[in-house]
Symmetry: C2
Subunit: 177 residues, 2 copies
């Protein structure tokens, strides 16, 4: 019963923060997972692309712009004089599981789409992380000078294709759950 | 006793494949882990940088060149006409653990350096994955044309600094184990 109570408490809280903005693209998948008695979601990101600068340590990193949607070419523009990186991150979901067999069952299904999924914690709370494999990390500007000599339209299409693939996979994953 | 027997059998086998080439930079760390009664290593990579082409799926991806050591500027050269990506990957270790408390203890220590570490399996075998956060993935050539307009010497230094940081962190992690 402990798990059921935790789930109830957690989802009641989560409902409140939803207004702050849960990512729309991931909502249906979260609803499907939360409708299963063995699981509830504790955090989620449907994938994103952003420009950042800094050391890479959380406290020393500044996000210059971020998109959870398809981007335009002007996404790549910035006035920054520092080293600017372009990063794309895949889907990340954290899912609390009733017990270890439930965690393994979820992992088995998830790994067909999300090979890098794993168990973050197997002690008090059992948390599975579902993690997309899509990733990009490239230096884009240095000293105000562009480091990419290709076509921005092509780079935009490349990134948008990755984002669309992520969202499509989320839909397929939802169906097999 | 099952764990001790598995460990003995596994390390005896691993010794044979060592001649095929375990990465030298990771050997001391592996020895330290394998000297602990609760753990043994099942696979390892000390980090690497490579050029690749293909879809990204394992069976449809071709590695054009790879380095587990510091690189020179000529590492970036290739005659390929397809889309060529430059990727840098951090340390990855897979470690079998005697039980879940041993897995959590290892994770606690590892996450100071390797935040993305997790449990791959908690059923028959308990396997912890220690995973470095360093990563790069950038398109480098398209249709034989270079997509990077910066200085190769700078890019080489950037990558080598990341590789050296990985190896330094492995040494520090070894000391705290």
């Amino acid at each position: 019963m402990a798990f059921d109570n935790e789930k109830k408490t957690y989802l009641a809280k989560a409902d409140k923060s939803k207004k702050g903005g849960i990512d729309e693209k991931v909502v249906y998948l979260l609803e499907t997972i939360n409708a299963l008695p063995e699981y509830y979601t504790t955090s989620s990101c449907s994938g994103r692309v952003y420009l950042w600068k800094g050391t890479g340590k959380k406290s020393e990193t500044q996000w210059l712009k971020v998109s959870h949607d398809l981007i335009d070419e002007d996404f790549f523009e910035t006035d920054e004089a520092d080293l600017v990186w372009l990063r794309l991150e895949g889907v990340i979901l954290h899912i609390a599981c009733r017990d270890l067999p439930a965690a393994h069952l979820l992992l088995d299904k998830a790994r067909k789409f999300y090979k890098k999924s794993c168990i973050l914690s197997a002690s008090n709370k059992i948390i599975v992380e579902i993690r997309g494999s899509e990733f990009m990390e490239m230096p884009l500007y240095k000293d105000g000078k562009l480091l990419f000599s290709g076509d921005f339209a092509w780079l935009k299409d490349l990134i948008n294709a990755k984002l669309e693939k992520m969202w499509k996979d989320m839909g397929t994953f939802r169906k097999i759950l």
